[in-house]
Symmetry: C2
Subunit: 243 residues, 2 copies
DNA sequence: CGGTATATTGAGACGGCTCAATTTCTGTGG
DNA sequence: CCACAGAAATTGAGCCGTCTCAATATACCG
């Protein structure tokens, strides 16, 4: 076992799949024993380009990955964030041609899993196929909430909503209470995720700090007033219930 | 066959599924013979509420359906539009609790299909399960593009992008060239889809008209200058290729 | 034919943007 | 361990795209 951390990332992934779609030991074992190829990526490196077609999906083992699109003048919109234990482009198993890129927001390590293997294991174990489908559905639900957030809410709410979401997702991941978690994003990247300028992110962040709702540093978030933050972001975790 | 239009909507749905995931005659027949329950909905009626849990999915047979979320102060964000031949909430097969609502943007008729039936047919025909998964992936890709659109582009581009997308989707549906299609949305609803005020929709629309890019009436769109509109919206149909 | 929904227009306000300078971090090599 | 360079954060000032509020005109429907 040359890479213990590899194993734990895949285990995390399987565990989360299994928490909603019962998978028998056989199926879990099939996933855990899939060959993976470790890949380390530096911060700010884009490792999947729009238009590219790949033969593998990327399981995040460590770090933070963003899926994003770009407009003609180079503005980026981050469309989803992927924590360790998540496959950042599971949909590529079904549609290999990327319509959206992947970038490492911070130094990250990925485990590449061959599409063929994922398809094979899905065919052999229908429960796994269902679980993959579910994972895509949940991710779509998250993107939809981001759309609501960005389409309709002012900067302060958007940001509060994002912090609540990430707290909830981290809590699901590591059984913590989510009050404090790593979020290694620059204010620029935060802006790309929220549809805001880095300048405005900075000012909005100051506002949230002055309100004593959160304490945000370069790479971590501490929530000081959960109820206040939930109210500010109109956060309702229901859309994450199936995650 | 009491409802010929039912049949054609389901046939349309099956045909589009089959165009990307080969389905044998058996599988297609299984889908076509699923029992459906017809439902007519008036314009502006919400027929799936957030938080509700249903036991069926809704295939659009006629009209136009919007999936949307709402903020605390009642602002709506339409997250996706569903044309005839699409199941507006296919994801509910996997996650029955709705995190987003459905509304008829215009008078519409829906065909309810039981989740149980859809699951059953998916288990019996793995190709169908894959096709369902794919449909959800494609829809997610569309939502992601909307997020990019709304997060990063100015009103004029957003609107142009939407018109291009709908043209392309209609063209896929009815083999037309998509230069002219029905889009029975009020300016208010257009605003809800684009993250804009109806007032601003009105002004932006006037701009596009003055530029001779489109001609938009209450319930239909005619594209006068496709290339110009594509440029204005930075539209790239790649994300619809798998649809 | 009347009533309600929708579209249109105007005027003013404001949230978030741009541009630009400065300060503070962070990591690296000497 | 310090110095330095580049990245990131912070601040200021002015602008502009979009919103709000409000009034009017037009279109649709029973």
């Amino acid at each position: 076992m040359p890479y213990p951390s590899n194993h734990s990332a895949m285990a995390l992934f399987v565990q989360r799949l299994a928490s909603h779609t019962p998978l028998d030991a056989d199926a879990r074992e099939a996933l855990l024993s899939l060959p993976v190829q470790r890949h380390d990526v530096r911060a700010h490196a884009d490792f999947v380009e729009v238009g590219s077609s790949s033969d593998h999906a990327s399981l995040v083992a460590e770090g933070l990955v963003g899926r994003f699109g770009q407009t003609g003048d180079g503005r980026r919109q981050i469309v989803s964030l992927h924590l360790p234990g998540e496959i950042a482009d599971l949909q590529s198993v079904i549609v290999p041609q990327a319509t959206t890129a992947l970038t490492a927001l911070t130094g990250s390590t990925l485990l590449r899993v061959a599409h063929d293997d994922l398809r094979r294991v899905g065919l052999r174990h229908p429960g796994i196929a269902t679980a993959f489908w579910r994972a895509c559905v949940v991710e779509a639900a998250i993107v939809a909430q981001w759309l609501i957030n960005i389409g309709q809410r002012p900067a302060r709410s958007r940001m509060a909503h994002l912090f609540c979401e990430m707290a909830t997702r981290y809590a699901q991941l590591d059984q913590s209470d989510g009050r404090r978690y790593r979020l290694p994003m620059t204010q620029e990247q935060l802006g790309d995720a929220l549809g805001l300028t880095s300048v405005h992110v900075n000012r909005t962040l100051q506002g949230l700090r002055e309100e004593r709702l959160v304490s945000v540093s370069r790479d971590s978030v501490e929530i000081l007033d959960w109820d206040g933050l939930v109210a500010a972001g109109e956060f309702d975790r229901a859309y994450l219930a199936a995650a």
